[in-house]
Symmetry: C2
Subunit: 413 residues, 2 copies
């Protein structure tokens, strides 16, 4: 690998040596392209990526169900999403902005300290103390802001996710509102909830460049959790243990992993990940704080079976199935098209309804003839918003909810 | 290990050599005691059992969260139940009546054949064919009939389960009613739904002694599934893959693993597992078909935290939490007692309601003073049935729902 020089003076090799080895610098490529300027490396195609082994910190995951783009960017295969609502930890995607902290931070989970600031009585609380204060569980779609980036025709820098940088998981923890109330309520002038992760910035990178610190509107205090459990187990390091901020309905990056500081702040953080990255930046432009931040998710659905990944589909009755969610709102109804979006018929939700922030499974039984078919799905949320036909074009390739992009072409024999 | 002779002529060593090695013949002890006469070996106490390694066919499970009684009887620790509704596969209990079939049966899951009989147009269907016919998902408490046996004072033969032979899991598959309808409906005179497992009977044991074949009332056709997925993954061999009969609200044994035959029958099967075992046999008597079969589950709850397993509980606010379910009915309300059942206060359900057959998580915040406390919980189901104070005494130690037995004694410091 060449010692490509990037503007801040750090080399690609230094990035790679700073923590987990990165076979493909897809995620750092995104960081570099957005924040450090000029350095952009395309991810390998999914076909090549499939053969890469799992990095050690997630060697407990199910390799067969995943596409390893890089050590910090791992995607669930479309065909690997099950039909029982919850995505098991073994199949859940990974996307880290910088390599994860050392495994030692989950050795004594209850001792992990969280600094709570921007409240009337700021203090540090351990996970053990948080556990004594309250308990809530939420089922939620966790989705990377860049999920669906692979469908943008301008080929944005960063991981070329298709559908698999998403999953529906259960989080348990204490409501943020309970913690804030116990510490006297918000300090005057607070307008944002800002979480800071304990991510280890790569050596030689300026703090604000690499800091994982995100702000969301303060109203999210009402729904947010400080979570220590995912899907019935203490949260793994890979998914943000020992403590993760959960902001239901918001894209992955807002759900700060290994949170070490929670602050109610008058302004958004000036960390680059907030200031210029994760913005709906127009094509050809650079990110800046005047552009909308990537926060709440919108109505989205896709078909998982047939997956179009080349499975054998015999002519006759097929149970077409997939997932549908409303993001910040619940999913109300979902339609399926067998002709690439010309005509639509209502599909049926099935299985447990796990609440507003979860996805619903849907099924549509169809008799498919031999030949090629383009299958699509389209969800309507509880507010009547219909899933978009076309993506909102933006330079970094965020928030792709286009039903046309997510359609599958299948060959029935 | 001595060559203890048992009545049918098979030795303990032969049992052990017949499949998976059994470190403690707890489950075969139960089989032998009930069906083969005279041979009874007590399980080790939980303290000793903790040190046993996981058998190879479940080496992917989370050893820290489990108590290994024997290769075929593995229990979840009370302290290991999470608070996010679903029990992950890694933590789910194992109870096999005979050792599981060879791993090769899950090599080509879609090719697994099921013989459907007792319908107008009987035929064999592969899993691939079943998948094309319909799709449904149910969240359900899976609970061994003998869960809570360890609390019976007469020390019944068999595994001394406390609370951990249970979990709440998601199953996906085709409704049995859909399959039956597609095959012309039930044959005349059908009164039971009978499932036969592909379990490998130990050598030298008479077929009817070892056959895992269970009958339930035919009305359960309406709720039952033929499932190929659990918690978002193809069902593992350990939990009955490639295909398992799921009878929501019924104890574990009725949910036949590796099902190879589903028949609507005029009579219950005469396999010993139905005829004389899994009966509510009065104390001191032998099982016979006139005694009630162990079928539907009743209202039950227990506290998981504090677990009474010796964790450190500081004086002050504690979030007491646990699980509550109605068995065949939904859970409606749950109460907690801090004084061993003298007084009760209503606790709060939290997290997603996954439907009638799932359990609910409950929480009760309490300020506990230093000293010893006996904490208990008591659920009321949707039909107004209140969880029993005392167990129904029966020789084999089935269906223990006593809130008094399930109370925990905790020391607060």
């Amino acid at each position: 690998m060449s010692q490509t020089r990037i503007s801040s003076g750090v080399t690609r090799r230094q990035f790679i040596q700073s923590g987990v080895a990165l076979a493909v610098p897809g995620s750092f490529g995104a960081l570099a392209a957005a924040g450090l300027g000029g350095f952009s490396v395309r991810s390998l195609a999914a076909e090549e990526a499939k053969t890469k082994p799992l990095p050690e910190y997630v060697n407990w995951k199910d390799a067969e169900d995943l596409i390893v783009h890089s050590a910090n960017t791992i995607e669930t295969k479309r065909s690997a999403f099950g039909t029982s609502v919850i995505t098991p930890a073994e199949d859940l995607y990974i996307r880290n902005n910088v390599p994860p902290p050392d495994e030692s931070i989950v050795a004594d989970r209850d001792a992990w300290p969280l600094d709570v600031e921007g409240v009337r009585k700021p203090r540090s609380l351990t996970v053990a103390e948080l556990k004594s204060m309250g308990l809530e569980t939420v089922a939620m779609v966790l989705q990377c802001s860049g999920n669906g980036r692979g469908f943008f025709p301008h080929k944005p820098s960063g991981t070329q996710w298709t559908v698999g940088a998403a999953g529906c998981v259960l989080w348990s923890g204490v409501p943020v509102r309970t913690v804030v109330a116990a510490l006297g309520g918000p300090a005057q002038g607070a307008r944002f909830m800002t979480g800071t992760g304990a991510d280890k910035p790569p050596e030689g990178v300026e703090l604000k460049e690499a800091l994982v610190e995100r702000s969301v509107p303060i109203k999210e205090v009402e729904q947010a959790l400080l979570a220590w459990e995912m899907n019935g187990e203490p949260i793994s390091l890979a998914h943000g243990g020992p403590l993760r901020l959960i902001v239901p309905g918001y894209t992955g990056v807002n759900n700060v992993k290994y949170i070490k500081r929670l602050a109610l702040t008058p302004k958004e953080t000036d960390a680059k990940i907030q200031e210029t990255r994760y913005r709906m930046t127009p094509l050809g432009q650079k990110g800046n704080p005047s552009q909308p931040s990537v926060w709440a998710m919108s109505a989205k659905s896709w078909i998982n079976h047939p997956s179009g990944e080349g499975e054998s589909i015999p002519a006759g009755l097929t149970q077409i199935h997939g997932v549908a969610f409303g993001g910040i709102n619940g999913a109300k109804r979902v339609e399926v098209s067998l002709d690439g979006g010309k005509t639509w018929k209502e599909a049926k939700f099935f299985g447990p309804d796990m609440g507003r922030y979860a996805w619903r499974q849907f099924v549509f039984p169809a008799k498919l003839q031999a030949g090629k078919h383009v299958l699509a799905s389209r969800v309507t949320d509880s507010q009547g918003n219909v899933q978009r036909e076309k993506r909102v074009e933006n330079e970094p390739g965020y928030n792709n909810t286009s039903w046309r992009d997510h359609a599958v072409e299948v060959t029935v024999s």
